[in-house]
């Protein structure tokens, strides 16, 4: 290709530098922890069981998330009803929820004293138990089903309307639709969606611990916790951190070949299309799928809202101050994440084999925040006071966590933009920043808005490494919420949880919306 013959531009150098920076931010902390460890490091007696349990629950969570997402996405793709757009948006929300808020919401609905068990008792039925492996999986499905639905639904949305009409004119039955539309689509989308959810679930800590029911449910992240604070065995902690990386690389290598590149940030607002082979049974099934998914995903959020509402007006001023601090931190994190992701995406779009760079970004999903945080602490201590840098470090780590999701949205769009507008710009002799601003960036507005929204939401909701470095008067909203819980102030904590949920979703909505408006005006 002619474009590749040109020397690397400033933007591509920036991309290479960003890749190097991300690698450094993952590997240097791991190395720093390793360097402080006694040699040779060894695993503890329970660690193998922890690795087994981690893989098992992550695999189950990924499996159920994508399996349950299939009927929901299908139903949303082929049914029109008023409020469909709003429902699709709201049902995406659990993915953005801070984990502890999600757990509180789930317990309010599915816990022993939750709505479901109250209802079951009301009609004289036995109760369901959320604690144990099934609870861990259920919570992970709650958090990740929205992501799976979104990825599959986007697959449906990029099917050209003409192909549906062709199927209609050829008289496709429901079976033919499954064979010629749904199965190829799922084959393309599911490996990537499953891998992503699997990796997210491998670093699960609070969900697995609170709902897991006991030491049976020990995850690698908990084993790292134990190595650190219980045994102060840095070698074991680093080794477990490396194992997480190995799991990520192995799972990635296995699934990567099957992953089709897909625009995560693409719109979901295309109206449903007439569906060949439709029937009354299919309609009934779809209605049931949509109602069940809506109840499962929306009720816990409703519970958080109802419990938090009474305390909201009387929240202590520190909570509002922390909320403001968290918003500013989220904005800074987002700016940093975008500043890292954009050059990487632009560089990736020019590479012959973009997979490797994308793979690299997955690393930051799968490494332990505790190991990275501690490693950064060790590194930074040698040059500055980490306590004074608590907020910037938290911002950096949050940006790294959000990076894979932004890249998943940006890279396919960047490749498309290079292939279309990029060539046009080359033909017109556009160069450098002018080429970027006028030819490429306009195409990226939507995925950029979506990715920035994710980054902001993650940063807002994550307790993050600030808990390792905190100073009085520097608490973020999630930390302040924990402090309220730790000071018996449960009502205020529930108010803070609601505030956290609203701000998290609000930030995402603003960025996502912004990207759309920007795209629409061009």
């Amino acid at each position: 290709m002619a474009s590749r013959a040109r020397p690397l531009s400033v933007i591509q150098w920036a991309g290479a530098a960003s890749v190097a920076l991300v690698l450094l931010c993952v590997l240097v902390p791991l190395g720093a922890v390793m360097a402080r460890a006694d040699w040779p490091p060894a695993l503890g007696p329970g660690d193998l069981a922890a690795i087994r349990f981690t893989l098992w629950q992550a695999a189950l969570s990924a499996l159920f998330s994508v399996a349950l997402a299939i009927p929901v996405a299908r139903a949303l793709a082929r049914r029109s009803f008023s409020g469909r757009g709003a429902l699709v948006t709201l049902m995406g929300a659990p993915f953005l929820l801070p984990v502890i808020v999600a757990v509180l919401g789930l317990l309010a609905v599915f816990g022993r004293a939750g709505w479901l068990n109250d209802a079951l008792a009301g009609i004289g039925l036995g109760r369901v138990d959320i604690y144990g492996l099934q609870g861990v999986v259920q919570a992970h499905v709650f958090l990740n089903l929205p992501l799976a639905v979104r990825l599959i639904l986007q697959g449906w949305q990029v099917i050209p309307a003409e192909r549906m009409r062709l199927a209609t004119s050829l008289g496709f039955s429901a079976r033919d639709m499954r064979r010629h539309f749904e199965r190829p689509l799922l084959r393309a989308v599911l490996p990537g969606a499953g891998l992503l959810i699997f990796l997210i679930c491998t670093t699960s800590f609070a969900v697995a611990l609170i709902l897991g029911g006991g030491p049976r449910a020990t995850t690698v992240e908990l084993a790292i916790y134990q190595a650190f604070r219980f045994d102060f065995d840095l070698g074991r902690a680093a080794l477990l951190g490396l194992i997480q990386v190995a799991i990520c690389v192995t799972a990635g290598a296995l699934a990567f070949g099957a992953i089709r590149r897909q625009e995560v940030g693409a719109g979901l607002d295309r109206p449903a299309l007439p569906w060949p082979g439709d029937s009354a049974w299919a309609r009934l099934f779809d209605v049931a799928a949509i109602i069940a998914a809506a109840l499962f995903l929306l009720l816990p959020m409703l519970a958080v809202a109802l419990k938090g509402l009474p305390a909201l007006p009387s929240l202590p001023p520190q909570v509002w101050a922390a909320a403001l601090r968290s918003i500013l931190l989220a904005l800074a994190s987002t700016a940093l994440a975008v500043a890292l992701a954009l050059p990487i995406a632009l560089l990736t779009a020019r590479l012959a084999r973009p997979g490797l760079v994308e793979m690299l970004a997955f690393l930051t999903i799968a490494v332990s925040p505790l190991v990275i945080g501690t490693g950064l602490f060790i590194v930074i201590r040698s040059i500055a006071n980490p306590v004074a840098l608590a907020l910037p470090i938290t911002g950096l780590v949050n940006a790294l966590v959000a990076l894979p999701f932004i890249l998943r949205a940006l890279v396919p769009a960047a490749i498309m933009a290079e292939a279309t507008q990029g060539r046009l710009a080359d033909a017109l002799g556009m160069r450098g920043l002018a080429r970027l601003r006028h030819a490429i960036l306009p195409r990226l507005a939507r995925p950029l808005g979506f990715g920035a929204g994710l980054a902001a939401a993650f940063s807002m909701g994550d307790l993050g490494v600030i808990a390792l470095f905190s100073m009085p008067g520097q608490g973020t909203l999630p930390l302040e919420m924990y402090r309220l819980m730790g000071a018996y102030r449960t009502d205020d904590a529930q108010g803070a949880a609601l505030l956290l949920m609203v701000l998290t979703l609000g930030l995402f909505w603003l960025f996502d919306r912004g990207g759309r408006l920007d795209a629409a005006t061009r």
Partner: protein, 328 residues
């Protein structure tokens, strides 16, 4: 935004380097420094008398505090570490980072004798299972609890100090019989949470009949919420104690200030803050000076405590028993 953060960061560094008054840095657990903990009141009281700048730095909980100190080693900025408990003092002493305090404490109100060259206690409490006052058939021992169908939430000993406290409690009270006790308890345990906050939250939401907490927990509901609806279950075999301590670091550049702070720690100005902020018993305060409501709390006859030097070995054995019993 970045500028504000940088500016905030710089001002802290600048404050440390150029302020006229000397700085005393105290590492403690996060809930101590929170706006709802004892930190703010104590900082104000000490600064009023020391002509210095007292800076708290929060780090997770007691165990995270020790891990942090081990990471930093000799180079630590801390002058004082406040918030370790007796399960951790042996490991802390082993680091060699602590200096003898040289203080002969007077007026200690602990139920046990205190003799420790490096560490001084500032508060203490009894672990206990807390329940709603209307709970029927409140168990009076671990055996009775195990035999009942009362549900409990506990904390993971690997990530939580109360969780570890429970482990030591069962071990100290039942010794060789601990494994059987845990096996008996396994069907009472609803779940095991990462920390005290999550467990207590689940209990308040009605997820379990009882939660592992402190005998002083009902005092919070009584005093702060005027709700007498909570109580702690009185166990016949006695209750395990948590004694929270502070020590000064050998590498401190402010040894006089550090000593002054440790002395201040046992004065009423510090001690009176503890009951209604940390919701623990102060370590050196006349019981008559406790706030109204503390008199309603249960008073265990037997205070259980593993000697600090025996704690590490017992801890590892107890954890193995716990894991084996609950993994079934």
């Amino acid at each position: 935004m970045k500028h504000t953060i940088m500016a905030a960061g710089l001002s802290v560094v600048a404050g440390a380097a150029f302020a006229q008054s000397p700085v005393l840095t105290v590492y403690t657990y996060d809930s101590f420094v929170s706006d709802w903990g004892p930190g703010p009141a104590i900082e104000a009281a000490f600064e009023a008398q020391c002509a210095c700048d007292l800076q708290f730095v929060g780090a997770g909980d007691g165990a995270a505090l020790l891990a942090r100190l081990r990471l930093e080693g000799d180079a630590t900025e801390a002058d004082i570490v406040l918030g370790l408990d007796t399960n951790l003092t042996a490991a802390a002493r082993e680091t060699g980072l602590f200096a003898p305090h040289g203080i002969t404490p007077t007026g200690l109100t602990l139920p046990v004798a205190w003799d420790d060259a490096e560490f001084l206690p500032f508060d203490w409490g009894y672990f206990a299972f807390v329940h709603r006052a209307d709970l029927a058939n409140v168990p009076t021992s671990f055996g009775a609890l195990a035999a009942s169908d009362i549900s409990i939430v506990i904390q993971d000993p690997r990530s939580s100090t109360p969780g570890l406290g429970l482990l030591m409690w069962v071990q100290a009270a039942h010794g060789d019989n601990a494994a059987a006790i845990w096996e008996g308890l396994s069907d009472n345990i609803v779940t095991v949470t990462p920390g005290w906050s999550e467990a207590y939250g689940l209990f308040l939401e009605g997820e379990a009949d009882m939660v592992l907490s402190y005998t002083t927990s009902p005092a919070y509901h009584l005093i702060a919420e005027e709700d007498a609806g909570y109580a702690a279950a009185h166990f016949e075999e006695g209750h395990y104690m948590q004694i929270e301590v502070a020590g000064m670091l050998a590498g401190s550049d402010q040894p006089e200030l550090a000593t002054a702070f440790l002395e201040f720690m046992l004065q009423p100005a510090f001690q009176e803050v503890i009951p209604t902020t940390n919701w623990m018993y102060p370590a050196a305060l006349d019981p008559a000076a406790l706030p109204d409501g503390f008199d309603t709390l249960i008073q265990p006859e037997t205070a259980l405590l593993v000697a600090p030097d025996d704690a590490p070995a017992m801890r590892d054995a107890a954890l193995a028993i716990w894991q084996a019993a609950l993994a079934r």
